[in-house]
Amino acid sequence: MTTLATVFEKARAENRAALVGYLPAGFPTIDGAIAAATAMVEAGCDVIEIGLPYSDPLMDGPTIQDAVHRALENGTRIADVMRTVEGVAKSGAATLVMTYWNPIDRYGADRFARDLADAGGVGTITPDLTPEEAGPWREASASAGIDTVFLVAPSSTEERIGIVADCCTGFVYAASLMGVTGARESVGSAAEGLVKRTRPHTALPVCVGLGVGTGGQAAEVAAYADGVIVGSAFIRRLLDAPNEQEGLRAVRELAAELAEGVRR
């Protein structure tokens, strides 16, 4: 099975950054998301984050909010998220779930960790779970053998970076800018500094997300980070496509462009 450790090992051996793609489960449909994520892997994504659609996504910008809203309208449930992870993991990518905390809390931390591991998932990213509240989740994840990824931000103090990095396994997620998810004209100038500030606190790979959407931006980030995370730009391609086939073609094209970017 592909794990985060093997992904980053392979990328390092190829002297490049890893490419991480995000897509919410259930968008545009449950099977549509599996197909799109699989296309992203085939075109060069090393890691896939499957978003767990949540009613109150307070860290997300309009694009992801829109996709998540549609996923919930489609009746996407946690069982569907697990099925999506299972489908995507078959493509050979290390597959994570990105979720706000409450759905796991409600489902039960141990049960969620076990079910995710059973589905072939390798870990979670939990953007609103602070280290102070993360104890039960870290234990549940450790016993299920999955990774726990947390975020550091440009506003994080040295002390906080240390605390967050200590909670991470797999990699550390560095938010490139102060703001919500969404593609932007340029990647935050704070990103490189944040990666540099994070290094002394951890031996884990550091990946950069928020605001990355083009091959050029991927190349720029790949110069200093171990992984490049892209979400809204993929969703945008699917939202703008006239039909599912065109959508698949568009995400495949973007994944290829980004994969080329991380190899420059």
Partner: protein
């Protein structure tokens, strides 16, 4: 001593004894509270917490807050005995704490003045806030105008429509009102949007949170600024009746007016604390905001508390005729008061609230906010239970002028 002598508040009044959720506990009320927010906001929350810790024991800050409460908000507010209304409550003695008489017409002014002062101490020039009924938005816009702060208010598009008058008031006060069109387009979505603004503009901006919910340190700060309601009322009831009330009643949405009046009584074991949530069209219809009475423990808007949620943790949309109570979460301190048994929470339907709304107007010449009418309806029931010897203190948290559109429709006026 008359309460108009000296300062209204002292450092001790800020938190009193026996309060949970102070700094040493990092905002924990038993298992409730805490922080569930993006890491990007942690430094800002820490900064607010640290500055507030300094401010609340700084006599200069306390004097300035006190001065504003007295000369701008109109404190102390009086208590009014309402015997004609109380006839409908089995003859129990009912006393109203008149927060409706404050400047802007609701208790929200207490919290916004405190937090606006705190914003200036933080060296920030812009405030944002969420609003449901529009009362917190109006209060925030008022304080921002008073102190020369830029002000942006997030308000659900549905609420903008049903509270058009308050939208106009905010605009007149110089605030920008942003209608929020995602999700249920009500208070919870306005809070989401305000958090998104804050994480983007945190260097210049203070999120002037409107209720005792949200991540630490907000539940404690908002409580402390609202606490003056109960501190005054406790003295006033003692002065008037020579004893403490048998019960204190308040409406609960997010819970700031309720914690404001209840908190000074927590140590008074003989005083029963009753919170009244919006029962909407009734529990069985699923259209209600009965977070404490029918919800379950979860995380919403940065805090562990009771939440209206489905079996997978998705927030369920609430309903109430009163926009101010139309919220699927509640402050963590109320969750703690409920589970510890210190306070009891009940549902009041739209119909019961509107009956109490009309009754107070007819019998006493006071038009209450529909939010506050939930507490009045609760007091009517409680009075019949406790009997004619009981004294019941009710927080009349706001006036009803803003609700006349709803009342016209409801009563065919």
């Amino acid at each position: 001593m008359s309460i108009s002598e000296g300062t209204l508040i002292t450092p001790a009044d800020f938190t009193g004894a026996g309060s949970a959720g102070d700094v040493s506990e990092r905002g924990k009320f038993g298992v409730f509270g805490g922080r569930f927010v993006p890491e990007a906001l942690i430094p800002a929350l820490d900064e607010v917490a640290a500055e507030y810790e300094k401010a609340r024991t700084d006599m200069a800050f306390i004097r300035e807050f006190d001065h504003l409460l007295r000369t701008y908000a109109g404190r102390p507010t009086t208590i009014t005995e309402v015997p004609r209304f109380a006839e409908h409550a089995g003859g129990a003695r009912i006393l109203l704490k008149r927060e409706d008489l404050t400047h802007t017409g609701a208790h929200k002014i207490n919290n916004v003045l405190g937090q606006a002062l705190l914003t200036k101490r933080l060296g920030k020039s812009r405030v944002i806030a969420e609003t449901g009924a529009g009362q917190h938005g109006v209060a925030t816009a008022t304080a921002a105008a008073l102190m020369g702060l830029e002000c942006v208010i997030y308000m659900g598009a549905v609420d903008c429509e049903r509270q058009a008058l308050n939208v106009a008031r905010m605009k007149l006060l110089g605030a920008r009102v942003v209608p929020v069109t995602n999700g249920s387009q009500t208070l919870k979505d306005a809070i989401n949007e305000a958090f998104r603004d804050w994480v983007t503009n945190v260097d210049s901006t203070h999120y002037l949170f409107g209720t005792v919910a949200g991540p630490y340190p907000f539940p404690g700060i908002v409580r402390d600024f609202a606490r003056i309601i109960g501190v005054e009322a406790r003295r006033q009831v003692l002065e008037l009746t020579g004893k403490l009330p048998d019960a204190v009643c308040a409406a609960v949405g997010g819970g700031s007016n309720a914690i404001g009046i209840m908190h000074a009584f927590i140590e008074d074991e003989g005083v029963r604390l009753h919170g009244y949530e919006a029962g909407g069209r009734g529990l069985e219809t699923g259209e209600h905001a009965l977070t404490l009475t029918a919800g379950s423990i979860g995380v919403l808007h940065g805090s562990r508390t009771y939440v209206l949620q489905d079996d997978e943790g998705q927030t369920i949309e609430s309903h109430s005729i009163s926009a101010g109570l139309d919220y699927p979460g509640v402050g963590p301190e109320h969750a703690w008061l409920k589970d510890s048994g210190r306070a009891t929470y009940h549902g009041i339907t739209d119909a019961e609230a509107m009956d109490a709304f009309a009754l107070l107007a007819r019998t006493e010449g006071i038009i209450p906010a529909i939010e506050s009418s939930h507490a009045l309806a609760g007091a009517l029931k409680l009075g019949r239970d406790l009997g004619p010897d009981a004294t019941i203190l009710v927080n009349l948290s706001g006036r009803g002028d803003k609700d006349m559109g709803t009342a016209m429709k409801y009563f065919n006026l």
